[in-house]
Symmetry: D2
Subunit: 282 residues, 4 copies
């Protein structure tokens, strides 16, 4: 009998965690975009067995990426399972929408409104209400966070700047926060248009130019900017932290060894989900 117990232990070991959420793929028919937008959603262990409402994290991918990146390259399910299981993160819904390249309609890339592609409008008017309705989000600022990498770090920051009433925290990784100038000689590719939209939606300029009222609203969000020290975008994270500081908006800065890759973002996610959890209402 002892042998059987040992073998059961072994097989249990191989089954890994008892605590396991799951990722499901869903989509939304966007009237604003005139497109079907896919998204992945992580639901925690026991989601199907309750009617509970959950806090919601939006987790954004980067340039040339898609809604599957965090699930596949970022191993987000294992990270979330572990952190929720240990109590370092709250039980939460994590929504990973597509702003990328996969579907025929996604001719435009990025998180900002562009001609014929008002993605920011879609995000706030369609995605948030519909997804939170369907996946039982609590539905208010104190139960909603945003985070993302690179272009998605910039998107996260700007969304929380434009909608400080919507998010309790923002964790921006390796974030593309500014595009100071545009080379008009560049071919007008999708990348060009994305550059223009980042230029027009500079997160750094937003802070530098913030009115007193905007500063007050910025202070209602918890901000963290994280970047690898060998990442070409590092200076932008420093710059926005300094701009926040000069406006007396509390902001966290984290620079560690790292570059612009999934090893860095995978580790950053381990910090980001607890950070968001601590900012949720208690």
């Amino acid at each position: 009998m002892k042998a059987k117990l040992v073998i059961v232990a072994l097989l249990c070991a191989m089954c890994s965690s008892a605590w396991a959420g799951k990722i499901v793929t869903d989509s939304i028919e966007s009237k604003i975009l005139g497109a079907t937008v896919k998204y992945n959603v992580y639901v925690p262990n026991g989601f199907d067995k309750t009617n509970k409402l959950y806090p919601v994290v939006y987790l954004l991918h980067g340039l040339y990426g898609g809604y599957n990146d965090w699930a596949k390259q970022g191993n987000m399910q294992l990270v979330a399972d572990e952190l929720i299981g240990s109590g370092e993160a709250e039980e939460m819904i994590v929504i990973m929408p597509n702003a990328g390249h996969h579907d025929i309609h996604n001719v435009w890339n990025g998180y900002f409104n562009m001609p014929e592609w008002n993605y920011e409008d879609f995000f706030f008017q369609e995605l948030i209400p519909q997804a939170e309705q369907k996946y039982r989000g609590v539905g208010d600022k104190m139960h909603r966070a945003i985070m993302g990498l690179s272009m998605g770090g910039g998107g996260s920051t700007v969304y929380a700047q434009h909608h400080p009433d919507a998010f309790s925290s923002c964790y921006a990784m390796s974030a593309w926060l500014d595009q100071p100038t545009i080379d008009e000689k560049m071919p007008h590719t999708k990348f060009y248009h994305t550059c223009v939209s980042v230029h027009e939606n500079s997160a750094v300029a937003f802070v530098e130019n913030a009115t007193d009222e905007q500063v007050k609203q910025l202070k209602s969000v918890k901000w963290l900017f994280a970047c690898g020290d060998d990442d070409g975008l590092m200076d932008l994270s420093v710059k926005i932290h300094q701009a926040m500081r000069s406006k007396r908006v509390k902001s966290e800065l984290r620079i560690k060894n790292g570059v612009h890759n999934w090893e860095y973002w995978h580790l950053a996610l381990r910090e980001a989900l607890p950070f968001a959890s601590r900012a949720f209402a208690k």
Copy 2:
């Protein structure tokens, strides 16, 4: 011009690290096994441009796994690139051999000698000399380390026990170090035979029964046993650490939050490569 510089910085950011090794897939025609055994090998940045000799790490997969696991699920290249780039790990060759299920000849599973499948003989008589010849390993104990997960953690430990002259260090993750009893009523599947081989090659019993001469040799290897606290195999890591301690063989034990999965092993690898590096000759 400034715009161009910014865009160059952005594209550099997306290219990630300048420091990048690569993983190549190779195979060996084993006379001992009568089989072709595949293996992946990580070679560091600049490998092709020098005649330098390198220290070598053997990185073993687990039960039901294969030679691709560490490369695909463990993201070992990004981990090695980062740690070597920062100096936390030495420039090294990492060999990830198949002991698994992929090829027709691999009817037997595991790292030990079994009837008609003398994998341990293959490992020491064919794999090590041929792979280190081909990939320019230094070729001695003080430039060779072994590590692995689960069944491969057990294999690593037993290999270093049987061949303490071959390895300067052993880092065993979530290791299957003992199979105290065998249920003879089990069907004689591949799993049954693997259980028998672990029983017959108990790493725990090896330490408990070690002669003075064997203890002396055990002391020439640096040992680290790492496991998640919710892993069904955790007790074995504790047990061997205690057995080592009672024989006055220095051994490290690390238990942190975790289960038997790739999130744990990915993070463990970040500790294991520096651990092995510190034990290489200076």
Copy 3:
């Protein structure tokens, strides 16, 4: 003017944190002990300016130690300031009572009831109500945690076992959780009596012998046992974790490099305050 700004920045740098609690020394006239018992209490930034109620952590010292140890050797104020400032720990009161050697009446050592020295009675009937009254503790299980080192790790565990209705979490560091046998030939020193009291209040035996009702109550507390791998008491942390597991009481185990010293405990405190915070009611 720029020079002045720079110098102000420099002086600010030297003033360190804007966020700073303070430690005050207080004492209680214990009728139960017939002694004055000193304690240190950490109060968070702004404590004097509000009427707010706070969650309370009890932080216990070790054998031969005293109420000043955590403040002086453990640098607990800087740790608490940093963690509360960053949001990783809640704003909280931390009470560090004397169970030690300083005062003439403390002829008995330790946290348990002993002949003429009913310290556990004092702790629950006098210290908790009076200190939480004075320092504005919320005053219930979901806003109270206990933690400590060595003898105080054992005391923490046993207190939470005896009074599961009083604590939401227990974090035991390098804990003296059991004293299996007593050598009656030992001189009957204070140390002998402490050994006897640990023997009689074995935290390990408590779990092993727990009734179903006790198991149910144990499950209402979050448990974490942390120890260094070169600490002579490590096996006890493993043993209680295994006993908890066999009773299906969730418990966390953390073993890292370390010995029985203040470097280990200082680092452990950085984990313990967030652990306690996450278990407080939300």
Copy 4:
């Protein structure tokens, strides 16, 4: 007998590490300064029993500090003991000289040459040769590192800039690397003179103005700049990292949560000793 064993284990636990160096206080009669300069020196376990030569780390205190700071407030012995014991740091000598306020002759404060107080000359012409002779330093660049906090982080950086042939690595914590302008209306206190010396020995300007030959020499040192994100000096660490990068000198930057205090420096030392060790010759 089992009881005795348990008690022995308990007492061993309390004795903490078997691996223990020690700190001794020494002094040097400086002809250059016309003063007696005290220093603490950490010697590793077994130092007195061999004739071995060791690599040497210079560990510098901050403004208004003294040679005892790292020993007392930084707990450097426990940190070094643990890291050397685990192999994360090499066996090494650590020299902590006084540049501070304690002795009557130290009317000038800081690490640079000042009128009547040529401390940098003293450091290289008297301290290094005499201390390394007495404490058996290997005595060359590849076995010597420098590190320090605040004013000592600036001193470390400038020393390694002025003497790149003397140090294999430099780890600057919360470093005062520049004093852009001087307010001539300041009273000419000791602090004023220190400001002037930092202005004249700007580490940032050194990099920005480095000749090709100097750049080449900077590349022979491993640089790491570490600072807390709420430290008033953080921008200087960023600035020198950016300057190094623009000159293509590899440099590491680490920003984590923290302020200008001993909690931060204590933790930084745990990173700094391994960093220095990895840069020593192998």
